[in-house]
Point group: C2
Chain length 472, copies 2
């Protein structure tokens, strides 16, 4: 190709060298980041043991773990989560009573709850009219008269504190392939909101508007439009700069496009319709409360496959981080929740931050969120990284996942499927911990959001789960 | 970094080698593509002359071309195109009469018009009620009784045939920084549509619905919402997988988000509102007819800067390809329009294709479209390329552009500004021709769209423009 040799194209090749240089620089940073984020936070004594970890292949009864995992990820990927309607938590979430409060993460008693979870519980009890003040609410919560339970025990998921109280409206997501349903509240927006542990009149007023105006308007529209395909919407959003956890701008736009005609046909009050659209348009995270239950709906059918070592649950309550395995779905493996590396809203610092919190890691568990970081370089940049860091993050997650997603693909990786099916064996063998994207709540009740960032899951719960798998 | 040496990160570095390999493979393909697309089509005798091209730095009167170009791109980037309203072409486009038909590209007489332009003109004359049949319309067009003029002579742009007739509704875009206005029709959607040269009842019916229902509904909404910032919307869309020429999915979604509340407040008829939203939602290219006049509005203030060698116009009428320079905006440099490398709709092949057509290359001229291909890997894939090819395409365009855009950035290139300000000197010195994304029209009138693809601008008009610059 002599006509190219002396052409300006040679100059182009200089540009192409740049990403490679970034990679070389990035590797020590990555090692440092593992050191900084993973080890000190989780368990100072725990170390990635890439040497000497036994390769587990079969259960004692001879079940092939690879075959079990193949079935698990097949079910996860085959899932077709659809919005089929909305309802009030008490009416539609199985096992919900008038005195039940659901929360994010593994089980936890009031006494051990972190500040933002307490704040959200207090706010919810006032919102429900069960008490008049947050102080009375704290007393009621401590009295034993309220049943606390993880969202995950009720086919539900909740971002941050993840508090669901009986009269809150929830999305109803049905997995059209398997028939199971998942539930999630409607996203309140950012700032001083209940899910970040805030309470007070501003919070109650918004929650009431959501129940009185937003909920019936959306319910009527979904009834008119028929089921809305969330797998297709997530797949598209991943091609539009979202990873559907910390960035949901495209997902929110696609939802509005899909619901628009039905909203117009069912909401005769133009001013009300305008306010509903403004609320959704004003909150780029509105779609998060759909991507999350979509992930939950896709993951549940994989629960209970003997020998399957992939995760079906990864969730935090702000005190503890817990995981559950497809092969043993009733058991939580728990470790202390980590601290988030992030950027803070004006007026706040890392000293204000609560540990990692929320069920939103259901997105990473289902093969998007932080695992699809390469699709959303804007997030990497937001926390001081580069587009190349975003690609590195996703490439690393392939090392601990059993499969590549059939339907969720990443343009920047030549439309390669996202890493899906976190295999506790690969996590243990490689010493690579799952990367998570998340928001940051203030550690005290009643305040709210202070920032957003990234971190890794704590190693100790994976070590414990791996020990359990050894005995299968 | 010994803790990394034996870690799985080594395996990661294997992935990073892949893009580099693609690049090495890509360069001969690029050379071949120049050979195949540029030379035979435009002028068999013309060759990229990287050696022996004089570096032009000053006009004969001593004006620095670099300084002139710096002012030109400063103005282009400073432009703030806003949707300020809609109107009928005859009422708002300067110089438009009841017998004027505007078309895309450089000036051309009826006799030399390509099939799709003729088809669109015939369709427009029937739509206007000036004749009853396409055949009569052809006779009227040939009679000399219709004034044909380029859109670009009236501050307007039109995709494909770019035909604007007096009673068509148009977007009114105002550059808030400089006060100039630009105009463009509303996008009809894909398939059998006027801009691709189709006519017939289906086409007229859609145009009438657009004038009778879509236009007033949008006009009321824009009047209510106030000006809508298109520069911000294009900047966002470039972060969401669009390049705002061949892909406008995000732009269309962002437009609906922005207009939604005002639409709800001004359109009391829910069914009508639903149909308007469905029409927009059903056409991922709806935003193209906004990104184009946004580009036009940004480019015009750079016209008439003595010594400026960057392009302010690049447009095709399906027969000729024409460019105009900021330093000499009244003069077209014209060459035969090229053939598009593309994919075809079922039932059509390259034998059906008309040469390159439309004003939509205003997007590349303004620093997005094909020049921002790295932002939209899905398009590269659509025509058989890879995400790496998309990055290569944009990197190559930096070689012929005077600046990098201040506000339009590309995530995959670490948010580097898009290449902007095509400098005819750099095109000539490097022999690199502008890359264009485009749709493909059937070469016969009356049929419509047959595909979409990519090509390069013809070299001959750049060679001619460069010769002219020598004499400045």
């Amino acid at each position: 190709m002599p006509e190219v040799t002396n052409s300006p194209s040679n100059r182009l090749s200089e540009f192409f060298d740049k990403p490679v240089a970034v990679v070389n620089v990035g590797l020590p940073l990555f090692a440092e980041s593992v050191r900084r984020q993973g080890l000190p936070v989780v368990d100072v004594d725990w170390r990635p043991p890439p040497e000497g970890v036994p390769r587990l292949t079969h259960t004692k009864t001879g079940i092939s773990m690879d075959e079990a995992n193949a079935e698990a990820v097949r079910r996860i990927m085959a899932g077709r989560p659809m919005i089929v309607g909305l309802g009030l938590a008490r009416d539609v979430i199985p096992g919900m009573t008038d005195r039940t409060i659901l929360h994010a993460g593994p089980p936890i008693a009031w006494e051990r709850m972190c500040g933002p979870t307490r704040g959200a519980v207090m706010g919810a009890l006032v919102y429900e009219g069960l008490t008049a003040t947050p102080e009375e609410a704290a007393a009621l919560a401590a009295s034993g008269d309220i049943a606390f339970d993880p969202c995950h025990h009720h086919h539900a998921v909740g971002p941050m504190a993840g508090v669901v109280s009986p009269s809150m409206p929830v999305w109803i997501i049905e997995n059209a392939e398997f028939g199971n349903r998942a539930y999630c509240t409607l996203n309140e927006g950012l700032g001083k909101v209940l899910r970040y542990g805030a309470y007070g009149d501003e919070v109650y007023r918004r929650l009431r508007w959501m129940a009185d105006v937003l909920y019936p308007t959306l319910a009527d529209a979904v009834a008119k439009s028929g089921p809305i395909d969330l797998r297709a919407m997530i797949a598209q959003a991943l091609h539009m700069g979202d990873e559907c956890h910390n960035r949901n701008r495209a997902g929110t736009a696609l939802l509005l496009r899909a619901l628009g005609p039905a909203l117009a046909r069912t909401c005769a009050d133009g001013e009300r319709l305008a306010q509903v659209i403004e609320f959704i348009d004003g909150n780029d995270h509105f779609f998060l409360n759909l991507s999350m239950p979509a992930g939950k709906a896709m993951l549940e059918p994989a629960e209970g496959i003997p020998g399957a070592t992939v995760l079906t649950v990864m969730a935090r309550n702000g005190t503890d981080f817990g995981i559950r395995l497809a092969g043993d779905p009733g058991r939580w493996f728990v470790a202390p929740a980590g601290m988030v590396e992030g950027l803070y809203l004006p007026g706040f610092t890392a000293a204000d931050a609560n540990p990692d919190i929320g069920d939103s890691t259901v997105t990473e568990t289902a093969g998007f969120g932080g695992f699809a970081m390469a699709a959303a370089p804007a997030i990497a940049r937001f926390v001081g990284g580069t587009a190349q860091d975003a690609i590195s993050a996703t490439l690393e997650m392939y090392e601990i996942c059993f499969a590549e997603h059939q339907f969720f693909t990443i343009p920047a990786l030549e439309f390669r499927g996202t890493p899906v099916g976190i295999d506790v064996r690969l996590v243990t063998e490689t010493g690579i911990l799952p990367r998570l994207n998340t928001g940051i709540a203030h550690k005290e009740p009643g305040i709210g959001m202070v920032g957003a960032g990234v971190l890794r899951a704590p190693g100790a719960c994976f070590a414990a789960a791996f020990e359990a798998v050894k005995s299968w």
